[in-house]
């Protein structure tokens, strides 16, 4: 599904290397968690994969089902099946949430050579999916993320994910700013999309999200590299001992 090979990335504006050789392979239907201290390059990895401006790839590659992601426009990556749930979803005044969702769904269908969904078909699907995420009609009508609470914004991200049916979902600190109930709701939304084929990369600081979204593999990232990978027990280890031991271990190695 996703193959990241020796990815080196620096900021365009300043000469600062953020990623220093990231290697990651996510197979079909797998859930991978990436944990790590602040500034280790977790969010940068997600932005570079989604195609945000401001980063320069100096070495390495990233493939989604064999397609070279780094040569594609952000919208082409989306149409190829990549979805990034933002840590800070963007507010767009003047664009209704419903219009936004429909434009996105139909743009992707068009890019893949499929017929656009009619207004009625779309409405039926969106209502159904919104209901399971406890997103009411009012939230669908309001401008995208404007005046939404932290929890509403994150639920709105998951709704987009559910509507767009991507092959690979990257969740960038989706648990940040969520209370326990909202985290449960969001996790249920994510788990509902696990169908054995769709893959997930879950970026988080805390183990508690991984209680809800069970990962197959946990990676620890530090200073622009993945320094350790393991099973779900690795997340528990971090929760108990912090990153200090792992980082010390890394330095010795």
């Amino acid at each position: 599904m996703l193959e990241i090979k020796n990815l080196h990335v620096k900021l365009e504006e300043e000469d600062k290397q953020i990623l220093k050789g990231v290697n990651l392979t996510v197979g079909e239907g797998e859930v991978h968690a990436i944990m790590g201290p602040n500034g280790s390059g977790k969010s940068t990895t997600s932005y570079v994969l989604a195609g945000r401006d401001g980063y320069e790839v100096t070495e390495g590659e990233a493939l989604l089902n064999g397609q070279n992601l780094l040569e594609m426009e952000p919208e082409e990556r989306a149409a190829a099946g990549l979805f990034l749930a933002f840590q800070y979803p963007v507010e767009i005044p003047g664009v209704g949430n419903m219009t936004f969702l429909r434009t996105a769904v139909n743009a992707q269908r068009k890019a893949r050579g499929e017929d656009e969904l009619s207004a009625t078909e779309f409405l039926k699907v969106v209502r159904e999916k919104a209901k399971s995420l406890k997103i009411d009609a009012d939230m669908l009508k309001r401008p995208v993320n404007v005046g939404f609470s932290g929890g509403e914004k994150k639920r709105n991200e998951i709704l987009q994910m559910a509507m767009l049916e991507p092959k690979l979902c990257i969740l960038d600190e989706t648990d940040s700013g969520l209370d326990v109930d909202a985290m449960k709701l969001v996790s249920e939304g994510v788990n509902a999309l696990r169908d054995g084929k769709r893959s997930f990369v879950v970026i988080t600081h805390y183990q508690r999200l991984l209680d809800h979204i069970k990962p197959d593999v946990v990676h620890i990232m530090s200073a622009g590299r993945i320094i350790k990978s393991g099973g779900p027990e690795l997340a528990l280890e971090v929760e108990h001992n912090g990153y200090a031991d792992l980082l010390a271990e890394q330095e010795q190695a």
């Binding site: 426009e73 919208e75 963007v90 767009i92 005044p93 936004f100 996105a104 743009a107």
Partner: protein
């Protein structure tokens, strides 16, 4: 040169300029009103580039003796508002075309050609013609409107005596490359009346239009205007309104391209508990200029006014906004809002704004803001990351930028028509 000498020079130039102009003749009272306007014009002088009120919009081509030629704009598109059930009144190069127009009648409606009205003995028109224009000369001179009152050759006079269900639609057609049109409309809404007025179409090579609107107590006036894509348009328009108590005045203008378009709006809210909204959405792509100059005076209690102006500019287009809210001492509990924003799609365009508040009452809420900026990069990336292509995402954000102005249109069918034109304008540019 002293100020007095400069003023004298301006007045001399003005009298020389208007000397050869023919004043249309009507009933004696009408001739008197026109002569009064001419005298006022001769004492204030035509606008010049160094006038403060004209510092961003050069008036030369509007005051020149002969109009600059303007190519007739051809488009295969169906004109806007075509699908609406409306009373159509057609002007070709500034001349009323009775054959192309509907009969001058309607439910709760009196409609008359201006030239007929000014030759007759209709009491209310005697009091109305040029009256609001004259009142609006204080505190800022609006000489092109005074010129219009003196020399207008045609126009329409409308009186709504109750709710008018069909909109009245003024359709302007431009057929002569050197036409110079001066139109003057007088509109009166009696107490409790309701009227929607639509305007669209290129009017002439050069167009000077005045519209005076009196909105009596409890009356509601809606105005939606589309200034089309005719690239070589030079137009100056004035909208003068007096708003009574418990009344509503709402005006929206869409402006696309055009070499020079200056839209002045002057609203006097004289009654209590009334609302006055003026909004505009402008798009310029090329060497075009749109100027919205708005002046709203609050004299009554608990009135609300809104000025919402949005301009999308690229390829050297220039947007101008001069907007003022004047709250008189007696106008307590006034709620005033003013926003003017420019969206620059490239580095070559300009948005110039002069927002002004002048408040003498102590218990009022007035907010105003003016911004200029580019497309929000974060929002653009967010849309792209959801699969929306760059060009489409840019258009979506451009329409979102204009949305606050378009939201000011109450009628959904009219609003949809306007939105459709805006989308068309953007789509043509996407290629």
């Amino acid at each position: 040169m002293t100020r007095a000498e400069m003023k004298q020079r301006k007045l001399d130039a003005t009298s020389e300029r208007v000397l050869g102009m023919v004043m249309p003749q009507g009933a004696p009272w009408a001739n008197d009103l026109r002569q009064d306007a001419l005298n006022r014009l001769l004492s204030m002088g035509l606008p010049q580039g160094r006038d403060e009120y004209w510092r961003w919009t050069k008036p030369d081509s509007l005051t020149a003796e002969t109009p600059t030629q303007a190519a007739v704009f051809h488009s295969d598109d169906t004109p806007i508002f075509t699908a609406l059930d409306r009373l159509k009144l057609v002007f070709v190069d500034g001349v009323f075309d009775a054959a192309a127009s509907d009969a001058l009648e309607g439910e709760n409606l009196e409609v008359m050609r201006l030239t007929d009205a000014l030759s007759s003995d209709i009491h209310w028109i005697k009091d109305a013609y040029g009256a609001l224009e004259k009142r609006a000369q204080d505190p800022v001179d609006r000489p092109l409107a005074t010129l219009n009152t003196a020399f207008a050759t045609d126009g329409i006079v409308i009186r709504a005596t109750g709710p008018v269900s069909r909109p009245v639609s003024l359709i302007y057609l431009h057929k002569d490359e050197s036409s110079d049109a001066i139109l003057h409309h007088v509109i009166k809404l009696d107490a409790g009346a309701e009227l929607t007025l639509l305007e669209n179409g290129p009017a002439a090579a050069r167009f000077n239009k005045v519209m005076e609107i009196e909105v009596a107590d409890g009356a509601r006036f809606h105005h939606v205007r589309a200034q089309g894509r005719d690239h070589e348009r030079r137009a100056v328009t004035h909208l003068f309104a007096s708003v009574g108590s418990d009344a509503a005045f709402k005006s929206f203008t869409m402006t696309a391209n055009g070499v020079l378009t200056r839209n002045e709006v002057f609203i006097d809210i004289v009654g209590d508990d009334s609302v006055a909204h003026v909004a505009g959405a402008a798009m310029g792509d090329g060497d075009f200029l749109h100027d919205d100059t708005v002046f709203i005076t609050h004299a009554g209690l608990r009135c609300e006014s809104r000025q919402v102006f949005k301009k999308v500019l690229r390829n050297g287009a220039k947007g101008v906004f001069q907007g003022k809210i004047l709250v008189k001492q007696a106008a307590q509990k006034t709620d005033g809002y003013q926003i003017s924003q420019g969206l620059l799609l490239d580095d070559d365009s300009q948005f110039l704004a002069k927002p002004e508040l002048e408040i003498y009452a102590d218990d009022v809420a007035c907010s105003h803001g003016s911004t200029v900026g580019a497309i929000n990069e974060d929002a653009l990336f967010y849309l792209q990351s959801r699969g929306v292509p760059h060009a489409e995402a840019t258009d979506l954000l451009t329409l979102a930028f204009l949305a606050e102005a378009i939201d000011e249109i109450e009628d959904e069918a009219i609003s949809a028509d306007i939105l459709d034109r805006l989308e068309g304008w953007l789509a043509r540019r996407r290629g």
